[in-house]
Amino acid sequence: MSENSTISKITKKDISKVWIIYYLGAELSNSYERLQSLIFCTSMIPVLKKLYTTKETLSEALKRHLNFFNTEGIFGTIIHGISVAMEEQKSNGENVPDSAITGIKTGLMGPVAGMGDSIVWAGIMPLIIGIFLPFAMEGSSMGGILPLVSYTAITLIISYALCHKGYKLGRESILNLLQDGRVKELINSASILGLFMMGALSASYINITTPLEINVLEGSPIVIQEILDSMAPGLLPLVAVFGIYGFLKKKGPRYNIILSSIIVISIVASILGIL
């Protein structure tokens, strides 16, 4: 890093600011429309203000980072680090097109979410709660305090390290990696893992079953759920995921329609007793 330090305007402290802002607000302003784009943009402010000193360029940069963004908030900080580095290089006049920055962000956010959600949320969190649960069962407040402290501490350390790591990566090699195609390779691997983990998680997180029974004969109803299960367990959840996915693919990110549909379907299905 030393050889580049002459042109580095970004200090370690700046990166830490980006990191902490994102950490504090990752979920706070999360909306159905653009999920974490607002907090991503917000977290970049300390850096962007430093790099872009005219109103026009700053406005440009801010708008660039208000694009759709969503990832897991601990592992995802590596993307922040990389983005900071790329913005810096861009503002230094190097040839970093907007599309490259957005491309990296978009390419990484999905796979990283897959990994982060499974490790940070589905892995570490219940593990930590479980470890200290015996304390709670015996009436000790440590059963609540220790999980809070340790989970927060562990995840803060990880996200801090990854954010700075990302910056280093971005400064040192991201442009090379981009050129020789190894970023593509990396994203590919990460995507496989991300998709695999998302599949594994969805198996336990989505919960749709039907109580439907067909009563042709007295006393021996045909239980629809049993038939579905004997075809393949988890068919309905899978239909839900790929139904929504298909809609998103065809009609674009019209979340409001999806949400209202889910509400309507839930109410109707509840009244008719089919779900």
Binding site: Y23, G110, M115, A136, F196, L201, I267, A269, S270
Partner: protein, 250 residues
């Protein structure tokens, strides 16, 4: 502390935890074992509160928000309502949980309101970005959602803690069964949205079979999430080696 102040504190706690200030910090604040610490402290009976909290926790182990941020049920709301009642009336924890579960489900809907209304601020931020008004963007990201959150979160917990079991039961009586059940269904379906978004965002159609394999590896072979992570990593590394560098040579 007077019971009014206690109710205010509980309402504030629920509001603050659900604000999600501090990504993993708030994620843990929402868990029943943490709610129990606060209840125990406010009501002056830590031991009992923790024991009840542990019971409620078991129902919600690891439930916070699923990928994409959708909430399948709200452990914090359930805990904030159930634990004080159980503590005050000496109700069996199990019964208190049963009382609280419908509220956990209700929380699904409340959170949908939050995330829908949050769309306001992102539009507002678009305008501030145009003007390069960074202060405004900060407000959109933190202040406004916090204020709105207060309005939709505070009252229910405040009321249920202040008036206690009788009011809670009454609320439950008013809510028709079809409505709570439809929230339950909603909580079951909503996570699918998050997964669909993530698949979308990853965007590699040809790799979707990996999603299916992960799904059925859990369904058919009953492997744990950690096992999936380990095998998934190995497969990802090897598949890459194959398809891109044309061989397994270093």
């Amino acid at each position: 502390m007077g019971s009014f102040m206690i109710a205010v504190c509980m309402g504030l706690y629920y509001w603050f935890a659900r604000l999600r200030f501090g990504y993993t910090f708030s994620g843990m604040l929402l868990q029943p074992v943490c709610v129990a610490v606060v209840v125990g402290w406010l009501f002056g009976d830590m031991t009992q509160a923790m024991i009840i909290g542990a019971g409620v926790q078991l129902v919600y182990l690891g439930v916070t928000s699923t990928p994409g941020g959708n909430v399948p049920s709200d452990p914090a709301l359930a805990a904030c309502i159930a634990i004080p009642i159980a503590l005050q009336t000496g109700m069996e924890p199990n019964l208190a949980v049963a009382l609280a579960v419908p509220f956990g489900i209700l929380g699904v809907f409340v959170d949908q309101i939050r995330r829908t209304t949050n769309a306001f601020w992102i539009h507002m931020a678009d305008k501030y970005a145009e003007e390069a008004n960074t202060k405004g963007i900060y407000r959109c990201a933190f202040l406004y959602p916090a204020i709105l959150g207060f309005i939709i979160r505070f009252p229910i917990v405040f009321i249920s803690t202040y008036y206690g079991e009788t009011v809670v039961s009454k609320i439950l009586d008013i809510l028709p069964q079809w409505l709570t059940h439809s929230f339950e269904i909603m909580g079951g379906i909503l996570p699918a949205l998050g997964f669909a978004i993530t698949i979308m965002v990853i965007g590699k159609k040809k790799l979707i079979p990996f999603f299916i394999m992960g799904f059925f590896a859990v369904k058919f072979l009953n492997i744990s999430v950690m096992a999936a992570a380990i095998f998934g990593t190995c497969i990802a590394l090897l598949y890459k080696g194959t398809s891109l560098s044309g061989g397994a040579e270093a």
